[in-house]
C-alpha cells in the first residue's frame, strides 16, 4: 500500500536534492507497516554504508514496540500511529527486528547490501 507521506516526502527529497548541493541529501526513507501483528514487508533491503529512516505505520489498534537489539533501536508505536526510526549506515549483513509486544509473530529483517 502507498504510504500517506510517501509522495510529499519524495517531493521534499527531490526539492532538497535539486536545491542543496551534494552531501546534504535527505536520508533514504523506507515505509513499513504493521498489520495483524505482521510487518509488511518483513524483509527490508537497504544499501550498505548509507544511513536510512524506517517509517513504521502501525495499522493495528494496539500499541507495538519496534525493537532491534542488534541495531540498538526500540520505539513504541501507538495503535494507528506511525513513527520514524533512524538508522546509521550499516555494514552488509542481516539485522533482525521484532515487535516486542508480539515477539513470536511480529518479526522482520533488514538486509544491508
Amino acid at each position: 500500500m502507498i504510504h500517506r507521506f510517501a509522495l510529499p516526502l519524495t517531493l521534499c527529497a527531490l526539492l532538497l536534492g535539486t536545491a542543496a548541493p551534494a552531501g546534504a541529501e535527505e536520508p533514504l526513507t523506507i515505509p513499513l507497516s504493521i498489520k495483524n501483528h505482521r510487518f509488511n514487508p518483513d524483509r527490508v533491503e537497504v544499501p550498505a554504508g548509507k544511513p536510512f529512516v524506517l517509517i513504521v505505520k502501525n495499522e493495528d489498534a494496539t500499541p507495538e514496540e519496534f525493537e532491534s537489539k542488534m541495531l540498538h533501536r526500540e520505539k513504541v508505536i501507538q495503535g494507528g500511529k506511525e513513527a520514524k526510526i533512524k538508522f546509521d549506515a550499516l555494514k552488509p549483513g542481516e539485522y533482525p527486528f521484532v515487535g516486542e509486544f508480539h515477539e513470536d509473530q511480529t518479526k522482520g529483517v533488514i538486509v544491508a547490501k
Partner: protein, 279 residues
C-alpha cells in the same frame, strides 16, 4: 498470558534492581522506605501520564520526542546518582559512625534520600510507561483484561522477587563495607544508564552511535536473563559501540572526579575525612 508475564517481568526487572540497590544504599537512614515508596508511587503516576500522552510525546521534536524523552530521563538519573555519590563521600563516614553509635536509623540523610527517590521514580517511570501501554493493548485487544492482569501481576511478582533478592543479598554484606559496595554499584549503574542514553540520542539522530567494538552475544546474550540483569547492574552490552563505551568511561570518570572534588572541598573547609572508603 505468558507474553504479558514475560514483558512485564522484563520491564519491572530493571526498576526492581534499581530499587534493590537504592534500598541497600540507604539502609539505616530514617524514612528510607517511605522515600523509596514515594519514588515508586511517583514513578507509577508519571508512567500512566506518559502512557496517556505517548502519542503527543512521540510526535514531538520531529518525531523523535520519545527518544529524547528517554535520553533525558536517563541523563537526569545519571546526574542524581553522581550527586548522591559525591554527597556520600563527605557525609557517609559521619553517618556510618552515627549509626554505629546510636545503633539505629539516622536523620542526617534526608537529602540523598530525596535524590535517590527521584532516581527510583525515573526508573519506574521509564519502564512503567511501556508496561502500561503494552497491558492496555493486551486488555483491549486479543488477550482480554483478565489475561493482561494475571500475566502482569505474575510478571510484577517475579520482578519484585528479583529486586528483593538483590536487596537481601546486599544486606548480607557487613555494614562497614556496605557503603563502599553500594557506592560502586551506583557508579556502575549510572555508567550503564549513560551508555543507554547514547543509544536514544543516536536514535533521535542527534549523534552517531559509532562502530560496534565487539560482539559477545554468543557468549552472553543481552537478551538472556543474566544478560539483562548485568545490563542493568553494570551496563553490560553484547554489542557495545565506541560512543557508548566512551559515555560509560566518561561517567565513571565524572563520578570519580565529583567524589574527589567533594572530598577535597570538605577537607579544606572542615578537615573532614579524606577518603571515599569507610572502614
Amino acid at each position: 498470558m505468558i507474553a504479558a508475564l514475560v514483558i512485564v517481568f522484563r520491564e519491572v526487572l530493571e526498576a526492581a534492581l534499581v530499587v534493590g540497590i537504592v534500598l541497600a544504599a540507604t539502609r539505616g537512614l530514617a524514612g528510607a522506605g517511605r522515600w523509596v515508596g514515594v519514588g515508586i508511587a511517583g514513578g507509577l503516576g508519571g508512567a500512566t501520564f506518559v502512557a496517556l500522552f505517548a502519542g503527543s510525546i512521540a510526535d514531538a521534536l520531529e518525531g523523535y520526542g520519545q527518544e529524547v524523552f528517554n535520553a533525558g530521563v536517563l541523563l537526569l538519573a545519571v546526574a542524581m546518582l553522581t550527586w548522591h555519590n559525591a554527597w556520600m563521600t563527605t557525609h557517609g563516614r559521619q553517618m556510618a559512625q552515627e549509626m554505629r553509635e546510636v545503633g539505629q536509623a539516622v536523620q542526617s540523610g534526608q537529602r540523598p534520600l530525596a535524590v535517590l527517590a527521584l532516581v527510583v521514580g525515573l526508573s519506574v517511570l521509564r519502564e512503567g510507561s511501556e508496561t502500561v501501554l503494552f497491558l492496555y493493548g493486551l486488555a483491549t485487544g486479543e488477550g482480554g483484561l483478565s489475561d493482561a492482569l494475571t500475566g502482569g501481576a505474575l510478571g510484577l511478582a517475579i520482578g519484585f522477587l528479583a529486586g528483593s533478592s538483590l536487596y537481601l543479598g546486599l544486606l548480607r554484606i557487613p555494614s562497614r563495607y556496605l557503603f563502599s559496595v553500594t557506592s560502586w554499584m551506583i557508579t556502575l549503574l549510572a555508567a550503564g544508564m549513560a551508555a543507554q542514553a547514547i543509544t536514544f540520542l543516536s536514535a533521535a539522530d542527534l549523534l552517531s552511535i559509532g562502530e560496534v567494538l565487539w560482539d559477545s552475544s554468543t557468549i552472553l546474550s543481552q537478551e538472556s536473563l543474566p544478560g539483562r540483569i548485568l545490563h542493568t547492574l553494570i551496563g553490560y552490552m553484547d554489542r557495545p559501540t565506541s560512543v557508548q563505551a566512551a559515555a560509560y568511561v566518561a561517567t565513571l570518570a565524572l563520578i570519580y572526579g565529583a567524589t574527589l572534588l567533594a572530598s577535597t572541598l570538605s577537607r579544606d573547609t572542615r578537615r573532614a575525612p579524606v577518603t571515599v572508603r569507610r572502614e
